[in-house]
Subunit: 349 residues, 3 copies
């Protein structure tokens, strides 16, 4: 690199990132960051806050010799959303290290929203995050944190108090969380109940056509995701989709709906798993319309070893008549497809 | 691969990008399109197939005067995944209109995977999709489809047969689907059970740090999403996040885990809703490790009218002692925060 | 808002965004931003550059009374990628307004990559973008740009020269673009036809500005993706973008359009590949408007071995006069750039 470029680099560095201990990120809020009336999701802001904290924390903990490390989030203090942020506004997220203990870093993050068209600016969030540096060589090892300098002993003292307070709270919740026994009654392995899974998804602008109705492909992708998770829970292996039976899209799903995609195993052969997947749509705001079943389909998955060869599938344990009946129907579909495959092969020869 | 398939493959390859009734998409498969061992999700392929179908269907149905329209997916015929696709390969999706009825369009889609480094190409999918053109002025109106020309009367005849067969099947499933009564027992409105929701998410590479552990921000974004859906189900209005109580991240979550994010209402004041959100991690493949609770937090949401002003919240209907106890605890947190807010205000004056 | 908060806000604003005419964005590079060996796509960087430019341009053009507006990308000057960026590094993008004419704004953008683990920092890009402010009330109307102050008359004079030069070039390419006809035919290895590629993309809401027109950065990212595929097909190796020639954005592309991005090789030197990339827009629904060519540009890529060192490029096999002519033109561009690089080096010594 020529001398001139080096100087430019140093100059830029000084100008933009004045102190090492500060970091700023800006991003335009897009339709996918917001709900249908244009309010940016709190979750989008939280994610930006944490990215800013992770950058500054990781940078700081690597300013010394020894193991390279990554700052892992340990705690976020109570966070208020002071003002809503809207699509088209720019969120400016600035992070600063405000305290360091031997093994943790406190980062203060502020979020300003700027309407670049009107010029209006608002402070929308102030968050405090605690990070712990984990070694890249050995993730179980916590690195020592280089200490920061404080502008006054009072500042350091206040930081220490915040540190002690959060430490106490962390220990308390750890104990409390241990108490909360998972209320979900755990079903027996290899049963239908054990592997059944569902996800909810809020239909956002990018999921939709010009009409404001969800693209069929978006629905199918989520259905495949659920089928894959159901099969992986049953087999505990690498799962791939082998086929999808005909799918009919009877009813349209509108932007702003919440869809619930649920899957449950119906049949296992030696080397394949059949999963029935349901899509139920809930038009939240237009509650009078009620929930409705929008799509159903059967997915067939196979379980692969490390060389991508099919593995034997643990047989499904059936409970009750309904499951027995569905298994029989699944078997009939399986045999029919097998027969068709053989017939097709003969045709080709 | 049989000789016949090779020929078909070469034929398709040559024919690609020829006539206007053909359309081809190519895209490199990225880490987020695949599972942890590098197999591209079937859902990614299905989504690309449908996008190609929607484009060619919409383009075709707008080649005439009259209402502008969008092609809406009505049915996908049974689809087989012939070969796995891997990260770094290019998927070529080509779509062709093969039949038109008065109100529907049949699109045939083929997917080739190409390893651009070795040059290897494979036919991985053949799918048949049916679209119906809906007017952009009035989505309830189905437009007439411009007819295509066939290379022979036999070809048209075969298309007509496929059309009749799928029509019959669609009617059949419509009837059958009507029968399937939703097995979920619907809880009473305004109870905790009515609005409680959960989603599952497979931790992909882009969710993770260099260590292969999930970014705290990704987890928080999903928690906020669930809290928002729970509150919207209760209020049926526009919901924004007002605050998040302190969150502790006790246990790390690794790439390839499935996380279940669940939310349930714990407390309502006049104008706010408290939702407790849980994150449970399930390391699927390393089953011996078992499921564990990774994070919990309380989110406070408010319900807004069209002018972004807070609305009254319908009170929560409590069922049983446990819910009563949690409501009281939520009330205590609410009053404590309110007192703190007032104290802070006085300090500032 | 309490007085104390106002003061804090003003203080933060001054500290972080010293001059109005500067803006900085930082983001961690994720697996999806990179190819399979971990090199961040040039397209990801181009997209961040354009977002930074759009923010500062829009902010500046709204610092006056009158119509509110959005800055639309009109042209990007030739851009070099000085160093590869890797997954896990932080890209810092800083933008500054360097010249204003009556109807356009010149923005200078610098990109630094920072390895937050080792602390290494590199200047990876310097780009110059031209924006035109379009009224939000009437997108056909171009707003007058508020003038900036220059630190010296020489600085203003130099800006004016750059403005005149780019204006001339924009007019020239507009003429040339009309001529080019795409000739699609296929395969022998190392020919132009063998590696030529195209992708289609449906413009969704999150690709667009408040106007409903696609962000220039989205288009550039897709162009880079196609250039990378073309080069990888030819070389069968790890490809990175080395530079992009000036790009002119002649015609706007609207939400709901399908764009076809096509690339073909035009020239190979010993260690570089030149690819011409075309963007054609098809407003599907408004079929009467017809397809039109929206953007074209030349990308230069290099082929790297496992140690990230440049490899020899297999020479391009030319077929026909047209390809011969384009190769000669590519060679002229290559020699001109080489001469300029040498001249620049001498200047710096």
């Amino acid at each position: 690199m020529a001398l001139r470029q080096k100087q430019l680099l140093q100059h830029m560095w000084k100008q933009n990132w004045v102190a090492r201990a500060r970091n700023t990120t800006s991003r335009i809020m897009r339709p996918d960051d917001a709900n249908i009336v244009g309010n940016v999701h709190g979750g989008t802001i939280l994610k930006m806050i944490e990215e800013a904290g992770c950058i500054i924390g990781t940078r700081h903990c690597n300013t010394q010799n020894g193991d390279r490390c990554v700052a892992a989030l340990a705690r976020v203090e109570r966070t208020d959303f002071l003002h809503p942020v809207f699509i088209g506004e720019v969120a400016h997220v600035s992070a600063e290290i405000t305290y360091t203990s031997k093994h943790s870093v406190e980062v203060q993050v502020n979020v300003l929203s700027e309407n670049i068209v009107t010029g209006a600016k608002k402070l929308t969030n102030k968050a405090t995050l605690w990070y712990v540096p984990l070694s890249l060589q050995n993730v179980a090892k916590i690195i020592e944190v280089p200490l920061i300098e404080y502008s006054s002993p009072e500042q350091e003292e206040a930081g220490k108090k915040r540190y002690e307070a959060q430490k106490l709270e962390r220990i308390e919740t750890k104990v409390r969380n241990g108490e909360i026994i998972m209320s979900v009654s755990l079903p027996e392995p290899y049963t239908v109940a054990f592997s059944q899974s569902s996800l909810i998804h809020l239909i956002g602008p990018s999921d939709c056509t010009l009409h404001g109705f969800v693209h069929g492909g978006v629905t199918m992708k989520l259905m495949d995701e659920v089928a894959g998770i159901v099969a992986a829970r049953h087999c505990k292996t690498n799962i791939v989709t082998a086929s999808v039976d005909a799918i009919n899209f009877h009813r349209k799903i509108k932007k702003g709906c919440v869809i619930t995609v649920s899957g449950r195993m119906t049949f296992t052969s030696n080397k394949s798993i059949e999963i029935e997947v349901f899509v139920d749509a809930d038009p939240l705001v237009e509650a009078e319309k009620g929930k409705y079943r929008a799509v159903t389909a059967f997915f067939t998955c196979i379980s692969l070893d490390k060389e991508n060869k099919p593995l034997l599938v643990p047989p499904l344990k059936l409970e009750g008549e309904e499951e027995q009946k569905q298994f029989e129907e699944g078997k009939a579909r399986y045999l029919q497809k097998k027969a068709k495959r053989l017939a097709d092969k003969e045709c080709q020869q």
